[in-house]
Amino acid sequence: MYCEITVGHRKQIDAAGLESVIRAPFNNDIPVATAYGRSAIYRAVAPPPVSLFAFDTVSNCFVIVRKVNVRSSTYHLEGNFPVVSVETMLQAAEEFSGQLVSVLEKTSFRSPYRLRSLVVQLFEDNGRETGMQGRFTSFLALFKEQLGWTQIKSAFVPFVTAQLLIWRGLKQEPLKASVYSLAIALVFALADASLAGWRGHGKIKWKLRQS
């Protein structure tokens, strides 16, 4: 098994520039040819010139800075020996990714090397996808997730109700106000159901039942 880490950068980058930014913080250099020799998938491949450098990292793993492609850079992470477990390798990938993110974040705000995205994928030794994938979650991404409709719906319905009651001047008429509140809740429920029905049309909704 091995991990491939794909980093999206802010702008177009070049290999020499990336090397100058990240090589020093990740010391423990090993020859690229040695790293290729340790890899299950690259063992039979001669290191191409696009592979910049390689180094040992935590948990008995190594990293090859594989290549730079316009606005992205790719890193190969694998265990030094087949006995390195997948769990250990994923921890190493997480730690390396964290270090890489902090190195890139230290560049100037307008630097093309600054991080836009980071994805870790786990592959089998024969190059096939395992389906295991990790993504860097920034504060902004988490904020967007928390701002999603499912999260704010419970606050949005009372807000719309209050706005309508103020607009209609019904604050002093509890009976009418409650009817309006109920109507708004029903409208939202109907809209939600229609949307869910449209999205789930032709799909089976599975439910786990205890017998």
């Binding site: 024969n126 295991m132 994938q133």
Partner: protein
């Protein structure tokens, strides 16, 4: 996919490509080119599919994942391993020309395209999983790989 609720890197299990695209492509190709099908091995470390046309053997690898991501950089090495594996496996039976074929929905840059071409790998790109149409795709596949189109039914 599992996500930690703190900024950082979280790793979780995600389905292989959108809604079983890998399996859909594999089954559609196997069905549409049944007459040329040499083997269909999903669990074997070998190719996803192999098709025989005369003395030529098309070794097909279907590689699906997040279409927003670039083609994994190990793809070329993977295709080399695959070709070597098939060649070794079929050597006793005698095999003529082996043509590696990569079917993928990953984003393929011009540099990747050139690299694949230089390595003699035919590329069949799946533009969008949402607009995937078995018939159109099979026709495109037949044209690129050089298989007969007259049997395509789907």
């Amino acid at each position: 996919m599992f996500r930690a609720q703190n900024p950082g890197v979280s790793i979780g299990v995600k389905a292989k490509g959108p809604a079983g695209l890998h399996e859909r492509i594999r089954l559609d190709l196997a069905r549409n080119f049944r007459a040329n099908l040499a083997s269909e091995e999903s669990d074997d470390p070998g190719a996803d599919l192999t098709f025989r046309e005369g003395n030529r053997l098309a070794v097909v690898e279907v590689k699906t994942g997040d279409p927003g991501l670039p083609l994994p950089s190990s793809t070329l090495a993977q295709m080399d391993l695959l070709t070597a594996h098939v060649r070794a496996k079929l050597a006793p039976a005698g095999v003529g020309e082996i043509m590696p074929v990569l079917v993928t929905n990953y984003f393929v840059s011009d540099a990747d395209r050139d690299e694949l071409e230089q390595a003699g790998i035919k590329l069949v790109h799946v533009e969008s999983p949402a607009s995937y149409d078995p018939k159109t795709f099979s026709q495109k596949f037949a044209q690129i790989v050089g298989l007969p189109e007259n049997l395509i039914k789907l």
